[in-house]
Structures are given as structure tokens and as C-alpha cells.
């Protein structure tokens, strides 16, 4: 397959509730798909399914290459300075410090390198999570509400990062309840499938 991510007729059950079924999608290199829909439509569950964190009740999920995930948890040690917290994930992803430097510059976080993660605001923490995603070098980005708490400038940087990633042949699955810009986004309305 040439797709980076492919979901075939997947169904997802959380608790006793069927969130969605017969859902198929495929992301080629350079593709991006915006999952939209009301709260509880299953956007986050679909992202977690694509990440392999949930098992599909039916259907298959295939990934080609590594994936990087943003969800509601930042997964950065609160007691550490931001840079050291990000360096931990750089070591886990076996990428060098320059990748973190570039990603921090892309999200304009370089001035906050020495600030403990616990002192960061919600939006700054989302930007830090985005730095981890950019620095990881993974071809598949799974972004669950990445822009929550971000100001307009940070959102613009996020849109730019997504565009740059697609230009490099990456794929993006984006769950967001509001439009993030970027004109050629494919859409999947989860409200319609539920």
C-alpha cells in the first residue's frame, strides 16, 4: 500500500455505546484529513484507534511508518525545565538536539527553554507537545485538538508546521471542533457518521 495510514470499515465501541462503524479512511503522503463533529462524536477515539491505543471492534487499522500523537495530556514532566522535558522525548525517539532546536523555533518556544513545565500555560503546553511531534520526525501526525488554548499567532505557526510536514511527504489526521485554516483540508464529518 502507498498510504501511510489506512482504516478499513472500523467500528469503535466505548462502554456500551457504538461510536461509529463502517468508517474507512486512507491518508497518502502529503494528505491531511480534518475530523470534525460535535463533542462525543468519537473524534478522539478515532485518533486513539489510529494510534493503536484502542482496538477496533471491527475492521483493520494499518500504519506505515511511525506516528506521533497529541492528546489532552502533555506527557512532559512538570518539574523539569521545558527543554530537558523535551530532550527526554528526543532521546526516546532517538533524534538529536538539533531537531528539538528547529522544532522549538518553529513553535516560538526557544525563549521558554529554562521554564519548568509546571509554570507553562495551557497554550504553551500544547505548543510544547507540538514541538515533540515535529521533532520526532514521524511521518504520521495524529493531532487531537492541537490548537486548544493556543493564541492566534501560535495557531498560525501550527498551520505552517502542518503545511511543512505535508510538503515533506507526511500525513496528518487532525481532530478539531473548529476550522484551523489551510485551504485544501479534506473533511470527515463525524456527526454525519454517528
Amino acid at each position: 500500500m502507498s498510504e501511510l495510514l489506512r482504516l478499513d470499515n472500523v467500528a469503535c465501541i466505548r462502554g456500551d455505546r457504538l461510536l461509529f462503524e463502517n468508517l474507512s479512511l486512507a491518508l497518502n503522503p502529503g494528505a491531511a484529513l480534518w475530523l470534525r463533529g460535535p463533542n462525543g462524536a468519537g473524534k478522539s477515539s478515532l485518533i486513539r484507534l489510529a494510534a493503536g491505543l484502542l482496538h477496533a471492534a471491527a475492521g483493520t487499522v494499518e500504519r506505515r511508518g511511525r506516528s506521533a500523537l497529541i492528546d489532552e495530556a502533555s506527557a512532559l514532566d512538570p518539574e523539569l525545565p521545558l527543554r530537558r522535558a523535551l530532550d527526554f522525548w528526543a532521546r526516546v525517539d532517538t533524534v538529536d538536539g538539533h531537531a528539538v532546536d528547529r522544532a522549538m523555533a518553529a513553535m516560538a518556544l526557544a525563549p521558554l527553554s529554562d521554564v519548568p513545565v509546571a509554570m507553562l500555560s495551557t497554550g504553551q503546553r500544547k505548543r510544547a507537545a507540538m514541538v515533540r511531534v515535529i521533532a520526532s520526525g514521524a511521518p504520521i501526525w495524529l493531532l487531537d485538538e492541537p490548537a486548544n488554548g493556543m493564541d492566534d499567532a501560535a495557531q498560525a505557526r501550527l498551520v505552517m508546521a502542518i503545511a511543512a510536514h505535508r510538503a515533506n511527504g507526511g500525513a496528518v489526521l487532525l481532530a478539531s471542533h473548529f476550522a484551523l485554516g489551510g485551504d485544501d483540508l479534506a473533511e470527515l464529518d463525524m456527526g454525519a457518521t454517528a
Partner: protein
């Protein structure tokens, strides 16, 4: 390998950060200090009962930090992030067990000397205690990570955690304290066998429990 080393150092740093290094040690010494006051200053009695007390204190010291071993990683999304990277839960559990064994085991071995002195243990018995506890440390760490993984999804899981692994820890106590008995000749081999078994079970059981946290 870089990945696993990064995980290991992070666990060790978090275990020893902000003075937490001394917490199990202080707890261990607290029990050793309180016990003579409770049973009275009768040296022969202390000598006989003190060895067992060291074992109980070592077990409780291992279980003391179980609410810090898995739950914070789960709540912060660290376990999810590692799973996305395809790192097996069993591997994460193994790294956590090794890190915990070192994080609490090293200070415990050091604290053993003053504790044994407080409990009127002579040099020969201190040697036996040191060997026995050193053998049991991997198993104690394994049990601690297992109970931490099993209770990470529960509210107030810390209290249940101790109860949960108690049946598994009993053989360690029996054979460990049995080593102090002059007639307990095979106790050390049985302790080593028990410790090996528990250490082997830990990564798989804890890994399965951590996988269950995601569903």
C-alpha cells in the same frame, strides 16, 4: 537502547528527585527504631524477633512508593506516548522494575546496617540479612511495580496495592526470615528460587496490567 536508557534514567531521577531517595530509608529506620520501644529492651528477644522485623520493614519500604511508580505516568499520558512509539508494555515494566530495584534497593542495603544495630543483630546475622535482602530486592521491586500497575486505574489504589501483593510476598518473608534460623539450611536456595520466579512474573503481569489501563 537509547530509548530504554532514557526511560531508566527518567525513572531513577523521578524516584530520587526532591529528597525522595531517603524516604524508604527513613521509613525502614523508623520501624527499626520503633520496634525496640514496643517490645522492650530485652536483648535476646530483640535479637530473635528483630531479624523478621527487618524483613517486614524491607517489604513495606518497597511498597511505600507504589503510587508514584505507574499512576503519574498514566495520568500524564507518558504511557500512551510510549505505546504509540511501539514500545511493549512488558519492556516498560521491566525498565521500571530495574529502576525501582536500584532506587529503593541501594539505599535499603545501606540503611540495613543501622537498622540491624538498633535491633541487636550481631555480625553473623547482619551478613545473613544482607545476603537475603539483596536476593529479594528484584522480587520486591517486581511486586511493587506489579501492584502499582494493577492499582493505577483505581482511586485510593495505594492501600489496596499492599494487600494485593501480600500473598505473593509471604514466601519471601518466610524463606528470608528462615535464613536466620540455624536449622533453616535450604532457606536461601528457596528464597532465591522464589525471588527468581517473582522477578520473572513481574514484567509480564505488570505489562498486561498497563495494557489494560488503556482500554
Amino acid at each position: 537502547m537509547t530509548t530504554l536508557l532514557a526511560l531508566f534514567w527518567r525513572d531513577l531521577r523521578r524516584a530520587w528527585g526532591s529528597g525522595a531517595l531517603w524516604l524508604p530509608v527513613l521509613f525502614f529506620l523508623l520501624v527499626a527504631t520503633a520496634f525496640p520501644f514496643a517490645v522492650g529492651p530485652d536483648a535476646p528477644l530483640l535479637r530473635r524477633a528483630g531479624g523478621g522485623m527487618v524483613w517486614v520493614a524491607a517489604l513495606l519500604a518497597a511498597l511505600l512508593p507504589i503510587d508514584r511508580l505507574v499512576r503519574p505516568d498514566r495520568d500524564a499520558g507518558v504511557l500512551d506516548q510510549l505505546a504509540v512509539r511501539g514500545i511493549a508494555d512488558e519492556v516498560i515494566a521491566t525498565v521500571k522494575i530495574i529502576a525501582h530495584a536500584i532506587a529503593f534497593g541501594l539505599p535499603l542495603m545501606i540503611a540495613l546496617l543501622p537498622a540491624a544495630a538498633l535491633l541487636a543483630q550481631d555480625a553473623a546475622r547482619v551478613d545473613v540479612l544482607a545476603v537475603g535482602i539483596a536476593i529479594a530486592i528484584p522480587a520486591l521491586a517486581s511486586l511493587a511495580v506489579l501492584s502499582a500497575a494493577l492499582t493505577a486505574g483505581l482511586k485510593g489504589g495505594n492501600a489496596i496495592g499492599g494487600l494485593l501483593v501480600l500473598p505473593l510476598a509471604v514466601p519471601l518473608l518466610i524463606f528470608g526470615a528462615g535464613m536466620l534460623d540455624p536449622s533453616g539450611r535450604g532457606a536461601m536456595k528457596l528464597l532465591a528460587a522464589t525471588s527468581l520466579l517473582l522477578t520473572m512474573i513481574g514484567p509480564f503481569a505488570a505489562g498486561a496490567a498497563m495494557r489494560g489501563l488503556r482500554e
